[in-house]
Amino acid sequence: MCSHFLRTIALMWTLAAASGSLYAVDGVVLIDQPHALAGGITPADAPGFPITISQSGSYRLSGNLTVPDINTVAIEITGALVTIDLNGFSILGPNVCTSSQSGGVPTGVTCTGSTNGDGIVARTGALAVTVLNGVIHGMGGNGINLGFPGDGSNGNVRNVLADNNGGDGIFTSGLVASSIAMKNGASGIEAASVSNSVALGNGQEGINVTFGAASGNTATGNVNNGISSAVAGAYNNTVNGNGISIGANCPSLVVNNTEAQNASAGVFAGAGCLTSPNAVGN
């Protein structure tokens, strides 16, 4: 009797684990392709894409997500206080971007399309969203879109690679750290502040900061400004091989940067910018 009971319990546990439970044992909601297609990840989530995250909490990818076309959003967030841990997995779309140059100067990035098909987007009211630890590749729109600087939504991104997306690689209202944006159709990273990140070969700005600071970054081979600062700081960055080195809307602090082999020097519009010392070799 006892052994029969135990065997039954063990079998039930095994089946539960094998069936792809929505919850990790620590309460985090797991997201993978089958659950995306089935729907019900949160109460507002319908079958298919986008996955709708309407409840505050912690979410983690347990497999790659693949969207069918460049017009499809992978994850839309409508609730506040959401953490999405990509957990080393990828959000994948079919967009492909190619870069062009003339005489060693980047002249453009052309993608299959540029749409509203973002990888992860935070809708109005989705405050304090955090995305970390993974890859967003080939989306029709932005790789990540968590609001714009100054809107108070406080979206943060850490340890993300965003490449071959038709819009920005990463566009957020808050902080971006330790991330990479490569060959995106628009800008690499746009945020209030960006630190210890890389912007490589993007179709517009490499890194664009507003009301914050860009520090400790590398911006290479971007079509427009390697770094653009709007009432912000650009400090201790390396900027090389871009169409333009560093530009700013003043007042901004642009000091201690290393600039080399950019096609043209940056423009500082307005009054009140501090622009030296920088190591300049354009």
Binding site: A10, D26, T83, G216
Partner: protein
């Protein structure tokens, strides 16, 4: 045979039981239901604060929401405790408008995570917002906070007599971050100073648009590679002697 089965599957069975307090790796899981039920550690009464009286590893498995600004969420009474917020949030009702009215409402005495006795306490990976007083308050030495966001708390965002790494303190009523070592962190739009270090190190931080100073240091301290600007008072304020300040971007 039945004993063998029991030994083999008991941890998984316990973890799989709905609302189990234990993850399969021995970490104690904390959520709102367990907070209200009590018994997370011995001496933990039903309701808030959750009282942690045993050294060990704890992990949130859901958000914690306190009922008012005078309620503390977690009180740690011992040392050697790790609290992994696991991407979840500790949430209170307070909202701060420091940019317009320099005030947070409702004000109160409730803190997110507090300990005035334990050493070796580590808090990581989540958000503490809306507490009536401090977001995190670990006033004994050798404690740490890592990858924590603290915003809209009526008092200090993050106060740790130890290290703060890779954290963000935004729109708190008082100081953003106060610690011995503050590294790769951001303090934005707080009601008093952005970052305060005492006889320690501030390196690689961003401190902007705070109502007080950007960075305050009690010397001797080391301040390197910080970006400090647009604060209500002098961006950098040093008291005492023998501070080392180098390679900071200050003032715009």
């Amino acid at each position: 045979m039945s004993k063998l089965l029991l030994r083999a599957f008991l941890p998984a069975i316990l973890a799989a039981i709905p609302g189990s307090l234990f993850a399969v790796d021995g970490v104690v899981l904390i959520d709102q239901a367990h907070a209200l039920a009590g018994g997370i550690t011995s001496g933990d009464a039903p309701g808030f604060p959750i009282t942690i009286s045993e050294s060990g590893s704890y992990r949130l498995s859901g958000n914690l929401t306190v009922p008012d600004a005078n309620t503390t969420a977690i009180e740690v009474q011992v040392g050697d405790v790790t609290i992994d917020l696991n991407g979840f949030s500790i949430i209170g009702p307070t909202v701060c408008n420091v940019l317009t009215s320099s005030s947070c409402s409702p004000a109160g005495s409730g803190e997110g995570i507090v300990s005035h006795v334990g050493k070796g306490i580590k808090v990581l990976n989540g958000t503490v917002r809306g507490m009536g007083s401090n977001g995190i308050d670990l006033s004994v030495e050798m404690n740490s906070a890592e990858k924590v966001n603290a915003h809209d708390n009526g008092g200090i965002g993050i106060f740790v007599a130890g290290t703060v790494i890779d954290c963000a303190a935004i729109l708190n009523g008082a100081v953003g971050i106060a610690a011995s070592l503050v590294q790769n962190s951001q303090a934005l739009s707080n009601g008093s100073d952005g970052i305060s270090v005492s006889f320690g190190v501030a390196t690689g931080n961003l401190s902007m648009e705070n109502s007080g100073h950007g960075v305050v240091a009690a010397c001797p301290s080391v301040l390197v590679n910080n970006v400090i600007g647009a604060n209500g008072k002098a961006d950098l304020s040093l008291s005492g002697s023998n501070c080392a300040s180098a390679n900071n971007g200050i003032g715009f």
